[in-house]
């Protein structure tokens, strides 16, 4: 069944997630429309990673339904429509003996399919994407020789190479220097504007991210939408204070 255009890209209905006795996510209702650029903020332990894993099918929801492109998660097979950039610190890939080219090409694994080898057009696509993230000079370098910001761009290129319709980024700016963060959001903005890509960023870095996204939601076991990023930016000290108490202040003040 092909997804209809009007279907939400992601739709969570009354989703609960419980780990042993602890309720990690409570009654999450959330949908992502085409072209949305949504930021989900929340402190550590608020259930951000869990939410992300649920909608990538890495964890099963305790209750409720998750739909991707109009199909329930259990029937969804079109994984190349989704590009995923994981938290970099968790990866620790620096020592792996692979080049930028090899890592980016691995993003095509699902799209090309089992038993098929990469062809000329695939290699060309890899080079295009690497150019887009500005790493053409590093194409055949081992990833161990790259800086944190460059490695981050390699992972974005890997997620983009299969031409996904939805890009999901988990804490994309952790371990990335200030200048690279600017470049990184510029890149996301151009992807949204030129390719109409739907994007979702999960981060605890409230300050920088909320300046770029156009919708903000706060997560603390439950999800609270706060409409446009513009509204959020004006009231965010108050909103965060209400939601999280003092614990978030440290994070919110470094922009």
């Amino acid at each position: 069944m092909k997804a209809k255009h009007e279907d939400a890209v992601v739709k969570l209905t009354s989703v609960f997630f419980q780990y042993e006795e602890k309720v990690v996510l409570e009654n999450i209702n959330f949908s992502l429309e085409r072209g949305d650029f949504v930021g989900i903020v929340g402190p550590n332990g608020s259930g951000k990673s869990t939410l992300m894993k649920l909608l990538l099918g890495l964890l099963p929801a305790t209750k409720g339904t998750v739909e991707l492109f109009g199909q329930p998660l259990s029937k969804f097979r079109d994984w190349s429509k989704i590009g995923y950039v994981a938290q970099q610190v968790a990866h620790g890939a620096g020592g792996f003996p692979a080049t930028v080219r090899e890592v980016v090409a691995s993003g095509l694994v699902g799209k090309v399919g089992l038993f098929r080898r990469l062809q000329g057009k695939h290699h060309q696509k890899v080079e295009e994407v690497v150019e887009r993230v500005g790493l053409t000079e590093k194409l055949d370098q081992r990833i161990g020789n790259l800086s944190g910001g460059q490695l981050q761009r390699v992972f974005i290129a890997r997620a983009l190479v299969a031409e996904p319709e939805l890009l999901i980024l988990d804490e994309p700016t952790v371990g990335v220097d200030q200048e690279s963060i600017e470049q990184f959001y510029e890149l996301l903005r151009s992807l949204k504007e030129e390719n109409g890509m739907t994007m979702m960023i999960v981060s605890h870095d409230v300050g920088v991210m909320t300046q770029w996204v156009n919708k903000v939601a706060c997560l603390q076991r439950k999800l609270h939408f706060h409409g446009s990023a513009h509204d959020f930016a004006h009231n965010h000290d108050k909103i965060l204070q209400q939601m999280y108490g003092d614990s978030i202040k440290m994070l919110a003040h470094h922009h």
Partner: protein
């Protein structure tokens, strides 16, 4: 001396077997090492050993199995062991390397018990432990050709999946790669390779041929493909030089091969250090 290698059947079998082992061990080894599973080969080789002992015991006690090569029992045990390891890795998610000592000691325990039941074997167990040139039979070679064909075919067909799963298992999973099946099949291949290589390198030294050439290669390779290629070159050099010297000097073949592989590793490390100092 060199002409002997063509003149005598057993030397030819050894030579061909050596070339095949030198090809498949470093390929599988590269994937094992980058996934931090290099000890897996050790665990499986001990299970293989218990399989060989079981095979010998059965052929000694039951006439029907007399003609069956103990190698096939080694393979059978090794494959069962690999399935068990995958199972254990799932049970102990945060202590994945715990599977290795469990499987290793099980294999060794079973091996010693089987020997004691048999009250010793006529066959030279030493050759299974450390490898011996004269013990390679035509049947052993055929088994190895079969295993090598499957390993090379697999790597050719699912190279990109193997790379993706090795580099980033979570990403591979999100990309829709059947990572469970791939992991399982890969472990079965490692198990078969270990059993099939046993005659030449010996059970206790096979993991050296899987890891040492890759260790040297990692130091100098510029890409993942190069890591595999250099590892093959180092492994083939180790096997060919090792077999030559083992025959010439009447040394144990497995040990000689491993010593050559260690020498290559030391040379690579040394050259790298000198280069760094000169810069």
């Amino acid at each position: 001396m060199l002409a002997d290698w063509w003149q005598y059947d057993f030397l030819r079998y050894t030579l061909f077997s050596g070339i095949l082992i030198g090809l498949i061990c470093p390929i599988l080894g590269t994937f094992l090492i980058v996934r931090r599973l290099s000890m897996m080969a050790d665990g499986l080789s001990h299970v293989t050993l218990s399989g060989v002992a079981a095979g010998m015991l059965i052929s000694k006690k039951i006439a029907l199995f007399q003609a069956v090569n103990p190698l096939f029992f080694g393979m059978l045990f090794s494959v069962i062991g690999s399935l068990f390891i995958e199972r254990l890795r799932k049970v102990y998610k945060s202590y994945q390397d715990l599977a290795i000592p469990i499987i290793l000691s099980t294999g060794l325990g079973l091996f010693t018990v089987l020997i004691s039941i048999a009250k010793g074997f006529n066959t030279d167990l030493y050759s299974y432990l450390f490898g011996k040139i004269v013990t390679v039979s035509k049947e052993d070679l055929y088994a190895l050709i079969g295993v090598a064909a499957v390993v090379l075919g697999t790597v050719f067909l699912i190279y990109k999946e193997l790379f993706a799963v090795s580099f980033d298992e979570e990403f591979a999973r999100v990309s829709g790669v059947a990572r469970r099946s791939i992991n399982l099949w890969f472990m079965v291949l490692v198990a078969l390779t270990i059993a099939a290589s046993m005659r030449i390198v010996g059970v206790l030294l096979i993991s050296a041929l899987i890891t040492l050439p890759v260790a040297a290669s990692l130091q100098i390779a510029g890409s993942f493909r190069q890591t595999i290629l250099y590892a093959i070159v180092f492994a083939e050099t180790s096997v060919l030089a090792g077999l030559y010297f083992a025959y010439l000097l009447d040394w144990a073949s497995g040990g000689t091969i491993v010593l050559v592989a260690v020498s290559i590793l030391l040379i690579v490390l040394g050259v790298k250090k000198i280069k760094a100092a000169l810069r």
